[in-house]
Symmetry: C2
Subunit: 210 residues, 2 copies
């Protein structure tokens, strides 16, 4: 059908990584750049991307990840985070960055700035957290897809203790909170999950054409 | 750096599509297959993907999309939906599909089935909706990235009236609820947004290396 579909069929949630095979520095920078370029609502980028490769820290993450060993076996483990909060000062910093990069005056963007602030002010704190999480999941989708095109394995994971991650990684001090985890690397040759039939509904079961 | 990064830099939230340029049938099937292959928590795929190309319907969507014309100008508009609910019967149907495709007995997967059911039962209805939305945003990230590799333009949109979409598209009857919208097609030659500098925080502002 297309190379990209082959890539997406090739990928799977890797349960056992080969601890000897490391993602190269160059490839790691490509994955990070792909995360950086993720689109977000209003362009607000309410996120931080933590990449852990210190073995001692990775080992500490396993018991707070339902004992899933892939967190420590992987070449790197990505922790995709939301900001602790997105307030008016943050919107101002975003608008300032936008104006600086596009050679505009902040006053010229006051309308757009107010639209965003009005939008955010309508949300409860909980709704804002959910809205930020949505944006982080766009980044996860982009990461998984880009990794697949590079034949880099990944294992997106919701099964972890977010508070424990935040503590071990010192995220609160950085104004971040962990949302979703994704070890990356290369599958072990004996990972039995690699050859299992992929389970997806048929196209007609999930697609509606109008 | 890499072709995939060029592709991600090439893409932008397209505000004006060329209404004469249509995504080919072959390419549309690739985008749909990419959506179908999206990974999800437990593999549950709590989604439906609506692709609208009937002009009369697209025109009806504009006024309930903050009058954003790209919804009707695009070649197709994707409406990424969550299921209305994910209950035990749905988990059973997923486990049955898994067992049928992998030649296993449903009894052999009763443990996994129970893990999923326990997981879902801990959630409030609102939390379940948020959890489903997260999965739909993975699909959005995958769609945007795949489209970019195919030089197909897209405009992910949260600015629409979800209830009105559900009504116009008859989604409730299909057990679906709209989560996020994404027109796809080809940028108009005069879309001034195409040449604006992309606004993203610098790598050091969003990446933490541990």
């Amino acid at each position: 059908m297309a190379q990209i579909i082959d890539d997406l069929n090739w990928r799977y949630a890797t349960k056992t990584f080969d601890p000897e095979k490391k993602v190269s520095k160059e490839d790691l920078e490509i994955l990070l750049e792909a995360l950086r370029l993720t689109p977000s609502s209003f362009g607000l980028q309410p996120w931080g991307f933590v990449v852990v490769e210190t073995q001692e820290i990775l080992d500490q993450l396993v018991p707070v990840s339902w004992n899933q060993q892939q967190v420590a076996q992987a070449s790197q483990t990505f922790v995709l985070c939301r900001k602790e909060s997105v307030d008016e000062a943050y919107v101002d910093s975003y608008i300032a960055d936008l104006c600086q990069k596009r050679g505009m005056k902040v006053e010229d963007m006051s309308g757009f700035s107010q639209v965003i602030k009005n939008f955010l002010s309508k949300y409860s704190e909980e709704s804002l957290i959910n809205w930020m999480s949505d944006q982080i999941y766009i980044a996860l989708g982009q990461l998984i897809t880009v990794a697949a095109t590079m034949k880099i394995d990944a294992c997106p994971m919701e099964g972890f203790d977010s508070d424990a991650y935040d503590k071990i990684l010192g995220l609160k001090e950085k104004g971040l909170r962990s949302v979703v985890v994704c070890p990356v690397g290369y599958r072990a040759s004996d990972d039995k999950y690699a050859t299992l039939t992929k389970i997806r509904w048929e196209l007609d079961d999930v697609v509606v054409r109008i």
